[in-house]
């Protein structure tokens, strides 16, 4: 096949969704954020809701998410995305609102906003990317850092006695009556990425029901912060993160 033949529309096997901009992503090669972005953007495209979707970006690695989603976006203060999302959704109840946060943003500094937004049952989609570390600031300990895991602020490994326990915030959210759909997914294999897309699709579709919050955790890697090559990082994720943060639906009341 010549190049000209390959690029004919009928021969295309993959096309970037138009809901992602053409901006070059700043994420490290091998990081899960890019995949999660693509899945969300594809869901928005497939549901044909680009003009009615408003995204809220966090502070953390995904702080520039607004440069990649071709939807109207708001950059929230650290941890406050669920409060910002609440303000938007209450005033545009027929729009689709999603928040996008990492573990430090959602499960440390923003714990109160996370719990209370879900407890009120705010009718929005909360995306939570958990890689057990503060990526953007250079690999410090996060609320979800595993026992014994080495980070720049737990250089001898997380000591549960002095540093506290890794927080299973998704399990907490699942206890709340306001939460309609709570699930934990991953994207480090094609099969898991496809499953994750189904979950994110449901989390967006749920907004049509107006019955509560949809919360999707994605257990992801941080090969830079974990100081591992990308493939090794995914293996480490399988061996260490998933036993503590098991995949699957925690609650599906739809």
């Amino acid at each position: 096949m010549t190049r000209e033949e390959i690029i004919k529309p009928e021969n295309l096997v993959y096309k970037k969704t138009p809901v992602l901009t053409s901006n070059v992503m700043h994420y490290c090669p091998g990081c899960g954020h890019g995949l999660v972005h693509r899945i969300i953007a594809e869901v928005i495209e497939e549901m044909d809701i680009q003009d009615k979707t408003i995204g809220v970006a966090p502070v953390g690695c995904a702080v520039l998410a607004y440069n990649y989603f071709d939807v109207d976006c708001i950059e929230a203060a650290h941890g406050r995305a669920p409060a910002v999302g609440t303000g938007i959704k209450r005033l545009y109840p027929n729009h689709f609102v999603f928040t996008y946060q990492g573990d430090g943003d959602l499960a440390a500094i923003g714990t109160a906003e996370t719990i209370h937004a879900a407890n009120r049952g705010e009718n929005m989609t909360m995306i939570f990317v958990n890689n057990g570390i503060y990526g953007m600031t250079g690999g410090q300990m996060a609320p979800t850092t595993l026992k014994g895991m080495k980070t720049s602020t737990s250089p001898y490994g997380r000591d549960l006695q002095t540093m506290g326990n890794p927080l299973k915030i998704t399990e907490l959210i699942a206890q709340l009556p306001g939460a309609l759909y709570v699930t934990r997914q991953a994207v480090h294999t094609p099969a898991l990425a496809r499953k994750c897309k189904k979950a994110i699709r449901q989390a967006f579709e749920n907004q049509k029901l107006n019955q509560g919050t949809s919360f999707v955790e994605i257990v992801s890697n941080c090969n830079s912060g974990w100081k591992l090559p990308a493939v090794k990082a995914n293996e480490w994720l399988e061996e260490n993160m998933l036993p503590f943060y098991p995949l699957g639906d925690l609650k599906n009341n739809k």
Binding site: D51, L64, D72, C73, A76, A83, T86, G87, H95
Partner: protein
């Protein structure tokens, strides 16, 4: 026909919000301003105008709900009192940085710390000089009556949208709690979503095919870009300083001495004027209505013709610094104030004036 109501200052804020077409209120209870949220809940405006009223989990959440609502072009507000407003400073800085219109009310109580629940004016610096991080300004309105509590909600929204900047109504526990007669206006309709999308093209209302995506952010990774934003903000503040200085003067025509006071202090000072004039002291009063932009022009103009200026504040001396700057220290300027929640009496103020 005029519609008159007897109400508390705090209730007037709530009523002003409902009647001016406010879209959303997000707040958290704190004395001495809880009647605002209570009155809104009681009136249930969602049923009448569609105005959203939500009790948030904290002041931090409240101001960020306001940030969200302002990002999508809606008329949104929050209210609190001193310790709660301290918690909102991060959010106010973001709102200023992202150039969003929003309204905040501070019914000030004595500080620092948990302080007291009695009235105070000790949050002048916080509101007028910054409070949060970065080079930004809050347009600050100081009501001196329940009527102004009502009127300044609509005025506050007008200024917020005109300048795309947060506006603070800096009230205090007296004005919040006192009951007075208020002339209320007609119910104005809330803006439609179509009107907002057309009139405020920056708002993140959902991206139609006809425009690029709108981004609301206060982040610039390049310092040169962040400097450009700051230059734009400063130009806006300059314009505001030229066009928005508001004040009221009392018996300044022949005044040899001037009192400068805002809010409930200005009400007390009106009594001082009566007492002083009865004793033959030629005393005038300037009441700043905007604390930022500070009415420096009129204070300079009148102040320079006097023998001295007494800045009367329920704090340890905050506005007095701006008065000195306004008259370029060419006239003696002194401060008198009680603080920590104590309200000064007209007699005390007159005494301070006599000892000037």
């Amino acid at each position: 026909m005029k519609e008159l109501k007897l109400m508390k200052g705090n209730e007037a804020i709530a009523e002003g919000a409902i009647r001016c077409g406010c879209d959303g209120y997000f707040g958290y209870p704190i004395t001495p301003q809880s009647e605002i949220l209570e009155h809104l809940m009681l009136e249930n405006p969602y049923e009448k105008t569609g105005m959203v009223v939500l009790q948030a989990e904290s002041e931090v959440a409240s101001i960020n709900m306001v940030y969200g609502g302002a990002s999508v072009g809606k008329k949104v507000m929050t209210t609190s009192s001193s310790p709660g407003v301290s918690l909102m400073q991060e959010g106010l800085s973001y709102i200023a940085g992202a150039e969003l219109p929003a309204l905040c009310v501070n019914v000030v109580r004595g500080g620092p710390g948990l302080g007291t629940i009695q009235p105070s004016q000790a949050d002048y610096f916080q509101s007028v000089k910054g409070g949060g991080h970065g080079d930004y300004r809050l347009i600050t309105l100081a009501p001196a009556s329940v009527q102004e509590m009502y009127d300044f909600v609509e005025l506050g929204f007008d200024l917020a949208f005109k300048y795309r900047n947060p506006v603070m109504i800096l009230s205090d526990g007296i004005i919040g709690q006192v009951m007075e007669k208020v002339e209320v206006g007609e119910h104005k309709p809330r803006w439609t979503d179509e009107y907002i999308a057309k009139t405020y093209p920056w708002a993140a209302t959902g991206k139609p095919k006809t425009r690029g995506h709108n981004i609301i952010t206060s982040l610039n990774l390049q310092s040169a870009e962040q400097e450009k934003l700051n230059i734009r903000l400063q130009a806006k503040y300059k314009e505001c300083e030229v066009t928005e200085q508001r004040y009221e003067t009392f018996q300044c025509e022949d005044a040899e001495y001037i009192l400068i006071a805002y809010g409930s202090s200005a009400r007390i000072c009106q009594k001082v004027l009566e007492l002083a004039r009865a004793e033959g002291i030629k005393l005038g009063l300037i009441r700043p209505i905007t604390l930022w932009p500070f009415p420096s022009k009129i204070i300079h103009e009148i102040g320079l013709k006097t023998k001295g200026i007494l800045s009367v504040e329920m704090n340890a001396g905050q506005m007095v610094e701006d008065v000195k700057l306004a008259v370029e220290c060419k006239v003696p300027v002194k401060h008198f104030g009680r603080f920590g929640g104590v309200i000064h009496t007209p007699g005390e103020i007159l005494e301070a004036l006599k000892n000037f």
